[in-house]
Structures are given as structure tokens and as C-alpha cells.
């Protein structure tokens, strides 16, 4: 039964624990994602969102628990997982002294992307940076760098996209452009997991909202089940209930 469920799920996390020294950041966290879902993980600062995403991205090892990505177990099968995920964090992961094209060429070589020149052009077109392809990345605005970071993450055509607070540090126009790119990325049938503390942006983009508080998913709701305008009250109730139960436990 568990095997069948794992097959249907593209991400399955069971009883995940992560500790930094004596501090437990993630506590018995369970999390499931079906193929094609766009899941927004909402939570306050320090809730463990980035740590959780880094574990899904194979950049950090869990202390306990099971993490399956497309049937591959982490961290044992990390290399296989890295082939099928694309990661965008609040840092661009781009080299300022290389042009946009050179950055994509470098990552394309690392991922052994076939027909690389054509793919680079496709990706630059997707993120609207063809006219700036020969400019050094350090001359780009924060918004342009973030769009190029999305281009870098989709270059090898991953099945799963992980976004760690991609709107951080962007102005309203840049956020709107980034949202359009995110929608295009998600519309191509990819599974997307995005952490954020920006409820309004998440309400526009995601098909499911999970609230992460004090190291655990404390509430989950499908977009179809709730009015996106009520997301704020849903979020507040979930986080305050988690804080109350945490205080009682302590």
C-alpha cells in the first residue's frame, strides 16, 4: 500500500527531523505532493522553510525520517534527484563576471544539456532576456537576475521546481514579471514547491497552501477548497494555534 502511494506521489516526506546542534528545526514533518501541483509553503521567519527546501534539494541531510523525490530516496540517491529538480533561491546562484549566456552555458555543461545553444536561446526567450544575453550579470537589476536564475533552474528541463522565497528583495514591477515567469514555468506541467511569507503573491500562484510553523506542517488547504481572500485568516489561525500548542508542550 505504501509502495503504491509512493508511486503516485512525486514528493513524499515522512517523519522528517532536522537538527542544527541542539536546536531542532524540523520535527516529524510529513509532506506529500502529487505531480503537477503548485504548493506554497507559508510560514513566519525561522519556521524552517529554507531548511526544508534545502533538504528537498539534496543540499542538506536529514537527521531522521524519509524523503522520496520521484521515488528516489534522499540522500542515498541524491545524484538522480539533482537531475530532475531545478532550484531557485533568494540568491541568484549566478556569476557576476559572466554574461547571461555564459552563465547558462556553464550550467548547461554541468547538466550535460543536449543541443545547448538552442536550449539557451529558448530559456532566455522564456525569461525575456534575449536582448541582454551578452551583458554581464553584475550589470543586471535584482529582478533580471532573479528571472535569469529561473532560466538557469529550468535549463535542464526539470520535473520539479523548488523556489525558496523568490520574491525577496524585488520591487512590485519585478515581482509581477517574476510571477508571470513562475506561471509559465508551472503551466508546462511541472510540480512546483515554493516557500514564501508573501501571502498575496502565493494566493495568486499556488494550487495548495501548506503552513509551516515551528518545524512542522500545521495546516494545509487546496485552492479549490478555500477563497484566496481568506488565506490571511487561515494562515493566522494555523500559526497562532501552533504557537499555543508549542507553549503548552514547553
Amino acid at each position: 500500500m505504501i509502495e503504491r502511494e509512493r508511486d503516485k506521489l512525486i514528493i513524499k516526506v515522512h517523519k522528517l527531523v532536522k537538527r542544527f546542534g541542539l536546536k531542532t528545526v524540523l520535527r516529524d514533518l510529513d509532506f506529500k505532493v502529487h505531480p503537477g501541483e503548485f504548493v506554497a509553503i507559508l510560514g513566519p521567519n525561522g519556521a524552517g522553510k529554507t531548511t526544508f527546501l534545502r533538504i528537498l534539494a539534496s543540499l542538506s541531510r536529514p537527521a531522521m525520517g524519509e524523503v522520496y523525490i520521484a521515488g528516489y530516496l534522499l540522500p542515498a540517491q541524491a545524484a538522480a534527484v539533482r537531475r530532475i529538480i531545478g532550484v531557485v533561491s533568494h540568491q541568484p546562484l549566478l556569476y557576476g563576471d559572466l554574461t547571461a549566456e555564459e552563465n547558462l552555458r556553464f550550467y548547461g555543461r554541468m547538466y550535460a544539456v543536449p543541443a545547448l545553444n538552442e536550449r539557451i536561446h529558448e530559456v532566455l526567450d522564456l525569461v525575456g532576456l534575449v536582448p541582454r544575453r551578452r551583458d554581464l550579470v553584475r550589470t543586471f537589476s535584482r529582478g533580471m537576475q532573479q528571472r535569469l536564475a529561473i532560466g538557469r533552474a529550468v535549463l535542464h528541463n526539470p520535473e520539479i521546481m523548488l523556489f525558496d522565497e523568490p520574491h525577496t528583495g524585488l520591487d512590485q514591477n519585478a515581482c509581477a514579471m517574476l510571477d508571470n515567469t513562475l506561471r509559465e514555468v508551472a503551466a508546462r506541467g511541472r510540480t512546483v514547491v515554493m516557500t514564501s511569507h508573501d501571502l498575496s503573491r502565493s494566493a495568486d500562484l499556488a494550487s495548495r497552501f501548506d503552513v509551516l510553523s515551528r518545524g512542522d506542517i500545521v495546516a494545509s488547504a487546496q485552492r479549490s477548497e478555500m477563497n484566496p481572500n481568506l488565506l490571511l485568516s487561515f494562515y493566522r489561525e494555523a500559526t497562532s494555534a501552533s504557537v499555543q500548542s508549542g507553549i503548552r508542550r514547553e
Binding site: L59, S89, Q91, L93, L94, G96, M110
Partner: protein
């Protein structure tokens, strides 16, 4: 070791060389520092011809070691500053390929600095350094220095005190390379028979092989959070 592994090494090397050709941050800092060190030694030590021949190899290797540390620090800091190290670690390649790419680029930068420092030193100290044996020692010593330096720089870069931590970690570990390189260089410059220098060359070769092997085995664990 597959073709893909070699392509990944080449990609990291190409990326580092391209970025450095644009920015010239690392090479210029290493070069200016190295030239200043030999200039300071030139004025600080008033040497006769015999003493000069004796101290040349020591001054050269102190200069290379200090300048090399600057380069190693900068090379890894460049990866950490914009989160690029995560970008590298996310690539579906054996992580030792990243190490070898970084080590090769660091070696190229160090050899470039050495190629410029040697003729300048020859002019300032009026010493002939164009000796094939010395070139071999510089190559072997630089490989050992960069092999262990790249590994420790990857470790130090994850800490807040990376700038001061690298020399503290590196110099004790690299002492065998420096001693062997100084002795072998000195031997070649003073025209000592190769049989007497051979043990120092052997030490350099063994050190290079050991640390390249160790780095190949442990780099994955060092860069993991």
C-alpha cells in the same frame, strides 16, 4: 571516470578562467602582493652574492605561499558570495569533479603569478633562475599546495572567519611541501647532484598523490552542510 566527469571539470575550469579574465580581481591581487613581498625582501635583506643564493629558494616559496593563499581564499569566496557554491553542488555530477575544476584553475593562476615573479626576482636579486630543475620543483610544489589549499578553502569558506581561518588551517598541513620545495629548489640553484635532491622530489610527488587522493575521497563530505 567518464567523459561527463571530464566535461564537468572542464566546465568549472572554463568558468573560473573566463570570470577571472573579465574581473582580474584574483590575479591582480596575487601578483601585486607577490611583487611587493619580493621587493620588501630585497630592501630588508642586504645580501652578498653567496647569501643571496642561499636565501633565494626560501624567499621565493614564502612569496608563492602567501600569494597562493590570497588566490585560494578569493577563488572559494567567489563561489560563496552569490550562493554559486549551491549552484555547483546542485549539478548532477560527482562532486570531486568540482574540486578538480577548482584546483586546476587555482593551479593556473598560481603558475601565472610564478611565471611573472621569477623574471622580476632574477632582475632584482641578480640571480639566474632559469633552471629546468627549479621549474619542475615549482610545478610539483604548486600542485601540492593547490591540492590541499583548494580542499581547505572549501572547508574554510563555510565559516564566518574564512579569511583568517584558511592560513591557520593551511600552513601547518602544507609545511612538508614548503620544506621539500625549498630544499629541492635550493639544491638545483646551487648545482647539487640530482641524487642528493631526489629524496625531496620524492617527498613532493608522494605529498601530491596523497592529497589529491584524499581530496577526491572527502570533498563531497566537506562541502555538505
Amino acid at each position: 571516470m567518464g567523459l561527463r566527469y571530464l566535461h564537468a571539470i572542464r566546465a568549472v575550469l572554463w568558468k573560473d578562467l573566463s570570470a577571472e579574465l573579465r574581473g582580474r580581481e584574483m590575479l591582480s591581487a596575487m601578483l601585486v602582493f607577490a611583487l611587493l613581498v619580493i621587493l620588501v625582501f630585497n630592501f630588508a635583506l642586504e645580501l652578498d652574492a653567496k647569501t643571496r643564493a642561499n636565501v633565494t629558494s626560501g624567499v621565493l616559496w614564502v612569496t608563492f605561499a602567501f600569494a597562493g593563499t590570497l588566490g585560494l581564499n578569493r577563488s572559494m569566496a567567489m563561489e560563496k558570495d552569490r550562493g554559486c557554491l549551491d549552484g555547483l553542488l546542485l549539478a548532477p555530477v560527482d562532486r570531486s569533479a568540482i574540486y578538480f575544476g577548482k584546483a586546476l584553475s587555482n593551479l593556473v593562476f598560481m603558475l601565472v603569478v610564478e611565471a611573472i615573479v621569477l623574471p622580476v626576482y632574477s632582475l632584482l636579486y641578480n640571480t639566474n633562475l632559469f633552471n629546468p630543475g627549479l621549474i619542475l620543483v615549482i610545478l610539483l610544489g604548486s600542485i601540492g599546495y593547490v591540492a590541499v589549499g583548494t580542499l581547505l578553502a572549501a572547508m574554510a569558506v563555510q565559516t564566518r572567519t574564512r579569511d583568517i581561518l584558511l592560513p591557520i588551517l593551511l600552513f601547518p598541513v602544507v609545511i612538508p611541501v614548503l620544506i621539500a620545495a625549498v630544499k629541492a629548489s635550493s639544491g638545483f640553484l646551487q648545482g647539487i647532484a640530482i641524487a642528493d635532491i631526489w629524496s625531496w622530489l620524492n617527498l613532493l610527488i608522494v605529498y601530491d598523490v596523497i592529497f589529491i587522493t584524499v581530496a577526491f575521497m572527502v570533498f563531497d563530505y566537506i562541502v555538505e552542510e
